[in-house]
């Protein structure tokens, strides 16, 4: 996937309305009208959000009916989730080392007692 794609995905995810729309689509296809219901927004405003989501590949829209139902596309979300996972692992791993290191420091510091968390 070209790197720019990921950045457009993040940009698309930066808006709370769009995240809410995606969350709604997790449970299945929906029309623009259905998606607009929970929001105090006009249909054109919702349509704008949908266009952003569609451009970034986060959703796809059916062609068969004139109301063009929207559905979630898992690919770009997975890219984001993978990246976050990568970054998280980096820090999990560092925190793990920090955890061990802190234990070591404390063992050195207080040789007299409190050794029981060595496991």
């Amino acid at each position: 996937m070209p790197p720019d794609h990921l950045s457009s995905t993040f940009a698309a995810l930066s808006d709370p309305t769009r995240r809410a729309i995606l969350a709604r689509l997790v449970s299945g296809e929906a029309t623009v009208k259905e998606l607009a219901e929970p929001f105090e927004m006009s249909l054109p405003a919702i349509s704008k959000h949908l266009k952003v989501l569609e451009r970034s590949g986060l959703i796809a829209r059916g062609r068969e009916a004139q109301w063009r139902p929207c559905r979630l596309e898992a690919g770009p979300l997975k890219e984001v989730a993978d990246w976050v996972e990568h970054y998280r692992r980096f820090w999990e791993a560092s925190f793990d080392r920090l955890d061990n290191y802190l234990r070591e420091l404390q063992r050195k510091d207080k040789k007299h007692g409190r050794d029981k968390e060595q496991s």
């Binding site: 790197p3 720019d4 990921l6 950045s7 457009s8 993040f10 940009a11 995810l13 930066s14 808006d15 995240r19 995606l22 969350a23 997790v26 979300l77 997975k78 984001v80 989730a81 990246w83 976050v84 996972e85 990568h86 970054y87 998280r88 692992r89 980096f90 820090w91 999990e92 791993a93 560092s94 925190f95 793990d96 080392r97 920090l98 955890d99 061990n100 290191y101 802190l102 234990r103 420091l105 404390q106 968390e117």
Partner: protein
Amino acid sequence: MAGIKSSPDTEISARELVFTRVFNAPRELVFKAWTEPEHVAQWWGPNGFTTTIYEMDVRPGGVWRFVMHGPDGVDYKNKIIYNEVVKPERLAYSHTGDANSEPVHFQVTVTFAGKGGKTELTMRTVFETAAELNRVVKEYGAVEGAKQHLGRLEKHLANM
């Protein structure tokens, strides 16, 4: 699975990532481990990484320059500027990149909350723009080579 939440202790809201972890040590010690070079070099980065620290001036406006050596032999230069230093509770700094490498800009705030002899650490990373985030993605893409190490570590974490 809207990609907004990927695990209970990781949240992504647009340009921000938040990690938390509880350490079984008083926060004075945890803070020390984050702010004194001889300590930081002992744990920064996943297993297999080593860190060379060239300067570390922990005060507002102070600079921290270091290189991370990946297990695959790749070096990652880093330059950090401290924005806020409140001993032993809070640390805020900016990753600014280095003169010789592509600048990567993101802000990190680390808070150390004391909880009866333990420390709850919260690390908040904010990316200035999606483009910056994208650049970081590329940098960390290079860390792919370290995945085996990460995999092993993950197993270790699962057994803890």
